[in-house]
């Protein structure tokens, strides 16, 4: 039984005003037809580049914006069915850690105020109980109780992220949404925070939705990974399977593009990368509704890719993939891409 179930979710932002007062710019389709499930205590990664829609999907789950279509269920709650106000219980159950350690903490509030806020609002804690829990949270993330009296600007980036994590864990949430939590940190700090997050997950049993663009980071923290490209989820599956033997061409391109510090490995990757990406541009413009958004860059593109978005099918590894290579042409049927013969494009 899954903790979080996202079904057929779409988020469309209205376009802004044009030059003439009655003009409207076209709508922005940030997320289309997304399906995602997270089990209790599971750690799922959501990977994509800029414009993929991963942040938007995270914000929809957090009820920071309202989806245009589709449903989100958390346990017994139909999240999309909430009216204007979000129930306390939901806020208690779902918390967030953002990317930007500078902007995510209110500069005018002390650390104590920041960490105590969710406790006050959602659990009604006051006085000694509040103080105890606040100090406990500080310890949990490797900071000291006396840090509570300081202001955010007095801390380094890594420490601020710890404060953000402390705040997120205050109400012992069932699901923690982490939106690029380590992207803005230095390498040495990054590994410290990643280790912290892994440890906390073991200790608190919270489920994670780990949103990031760095597949290597996600692989360390997550058991399952979903890959997004330009508003669509194109592949999901166990972390190891996705990272070692992907079923979708975009995932393969992503993996090949990640630079590896081993020069020998990198040389090999460079030549693979050159073969896997056509054209020079990234994902630009509006994502198509009835086509695969990766068609313009895909080395295996077929005619059908321009006219319809593929129906997802199950992969051999236990996930899903949405790619015409599996349902038409070579008919991979859920097997990894590596089974394609490079010369003939057949399975």
């Amino acid at each position: 039984m899954s903790l979080l179930e996202v079904s057929d979710l779409s988020v469309v932002f209205p376009g802004g005003r044009g030059t003439l007062p009655w003009q409207r710019l076209p709508n922005v389709r940030a997320v289309q037809g997304a399906n995602l499930s997270i089990r209790a205590s599971e750690s799922v990664g959501l990977v994509g580049e800029s414009g993929s829609g991963k942040t938007t999907l995270g914000r929809a789950i957090l009820r920071l914006l309202h989806p245009t279509e589709g449903t989100i269920r958390l346990g017994d709650f139909d999240v999309t069915g909430f009216g204007r106000r979000t129930p306390r219980a939901y806020r208690k159950a779902v918390q967030v850690v953002f990317q930007d350690p500078v902007g995510s903490l209110n500069p005018a509030m002390t650390v104590r105020d920041i960490v105590a806020e969710p406790l006050r609002l959602n659990m009604g804690l006051q006085g000694a109980a509040l103080d105890d829990r606040s100090a406990e949270l500080m310890g949990l993330v490797g900071l000291e109780a006396h840090h509570l009296e300081r202001y955010p600007y007095e801390f380094s980036g890594g420490q601020r992220q710890r404060i953000a994590i402390a705040r997120a864990l205050a109400t012992t949430p069932e699901l923690l949404v982490l939106d690029e939590p380590v992207s803005a940190l230095d390498v040495s700090t990054q590994s410290q925070v990643i280790n912290l997050l892994e440890r906390l997950q073991r200790e608190t049993d919270a489920a994670y939705l780990f949103i990031a663009h760095d597949l290597a980071v996600v692989r360390h923290v997550c058991q399952r990974i979903a890959v997004m490209y330009h508003s669509r989820i194109v592949e999901t599956g166990p972390a190891d399977a996705i990272c070692d033997d992907p079923a979708h061409p975009y995932t393969a391109l992503l993996i090949a593009s990640i630079p590896d510090p081993d020069p020998a490995v990198q040389r090999e990757k460079t030549s693979r990368r050159r073969a896997l990406g056509r054209g020079v541009a990234g994902a630009t413009g509006a994502p198509p509704v009835d086509a695969c958004p990766f068609a313009a860059r895909c080395p295996h593109v077929m005619d059908i890719c321009h006219t319809s978005f593929p129906t997802p099918i199950a992969t051999a590894a236990g996930g899903e993939v949405a790619c015409h290579l599996h349902t038409t042409g070579p008919m991979l049927g859920g097997r990894p891409l590596s089974e394609l013969d490079p010369d003939t494009d057949e399975a």
Binding site: G18, T19, L20, P21
Partner: protein, 315 residues
């Protein structure tokens, strides 16, 4: 660009409409009876009633409003209650005078303000900057009418270099126009130039810290070129916004300056209208001023588009 112009003009129409409505009902809120003050204290009841009918103020308020609006759209701003003249005619005589004054002040303000602002930014932290900043801080604090008084006194009355009063019948030829407008324009322009200097300095400093300035230097371009070609155009944008506000402020300030120098412009017309409770004249005055401000702002919006290519492409 053309689309931008059409767009702005279309948006301006409801704005003018809103201004008209607001001011009409505001002006009517005063309960005093104009008919009585026009005719004088010894007017009879009948005479007052007749006058009221003549002026049209015995009609319900909304129909007065409707009538006025219909006429105004066609360019007829009604009749001056006190002089009996056509308001449109009266105003059109005065418009060039005030515009000349305001334009003179603006020219002065922009030229002096921008130059000083750029200089201060280039020498930020050094003595030139400090001096300019202090002068600018003082300049924005000066009431324009005080400066006008002082200038009028010293240059016109004491030294007699320039005329203290408006030439009767209007100035004749460019020379007389300039002579007549110099002192009032200076009085008007001082505060504006100080404000523009401050904004230019701050915008320029902001731009000089930008990466593309660093890139331009990295391309080996000389400082003067970097400032002139790269920095100024981008720094101009906030300054243009400020100039928009300053135009409105200058038109407001012209009220005082016109009074002091006895200039027959829009300002003195408006003040007179308020004192006498001359509602249609007041309305006409406000509408003309609002119209000028709106036009100027549209012109500035268009210059934005020229300065900032991102604006052009949208929509």
């Amino acid at each position: 660009m053309l689309r931008l112009l059409v767009g702005r003009l279309t948006a301006a129409v409801p704005l003018m409409f809103a201004v008209a409505t607001l001011v009409f009902f505001l002006a009517q809120a005063n309960s005093s009876d104009p008919a009585g003050s026009i005719l004088g204290l010894d007017a009879t009841e009948d005479a007052i009633d007749a006058k009221r009918a003549e002026l049209g103020i015995d009609q319900p308020l909304l129909s007065q409003y409707g009538d006025w609006l219909v006429d105004a759209v066609q360019g007829d701003l009604g009749t001056n209650w006190f002089t009996g003249e056509e308001i449109t005619t009266e105003l059109s005589d005065r418009i060039p005078v005030t515009l000349g004054l305001a334009f003179g002040g603006l020219l002065l303000a922009v030229v002096i303000g921008c130059s000083l602002g750029v200089l201060a930014a280039l020498k930020a932290g050094r003595w030139q900057d400090r001096v300019i900043t202090v002068i600018a801080s003082l300049g924005i604090a000066m009431p324009s009418f005080w400066i006008a008084l002082l200038l009028a006194y010293y240059f016109a009355i004491e030294l007699r270099w320039l005329p203290a009063v408006w030439p009767p019948g209007g100035p004749d030829g460019i020379g007389e126009w300039v002579e007549a407008l110099v002192l009032p324009s200076v009085a008007l322009g001082v505060a504006a130039s100080a404000a523009i200097a401050r904004q230019t300095r701050s915008a320029m400093i902001g731009v000089l810290q930008r990466d593309y300035v660093r890139t331009a230097l990295a391309k080996g371009l000389p400082v003067r070129r970097v400032v002139g070609r790269h920095a100024i155009r981008n720094a101009a944008i906030p300054v243009v916004t400020l100039i928009g506000f300053q135009v409105a402020a200058l038109l407001g300030g012209s009220l005082f300056v016109e009074l002091i120098f006895n200039i027959p412009g829009l300002g003195s017309y408006g003040v007179d209208a308020i004192f006498r409770g001359n509602v249609p004249a007041l309305l006409g005055f406000v509408m003309v001023i609002a119209f000028v401000v709106v036009l100027v702002n549209i012109a500035l919006d268009l210059s934005y588009a020229w300065l900032n290519p991102k604006v052009r492409v949208r929509g």
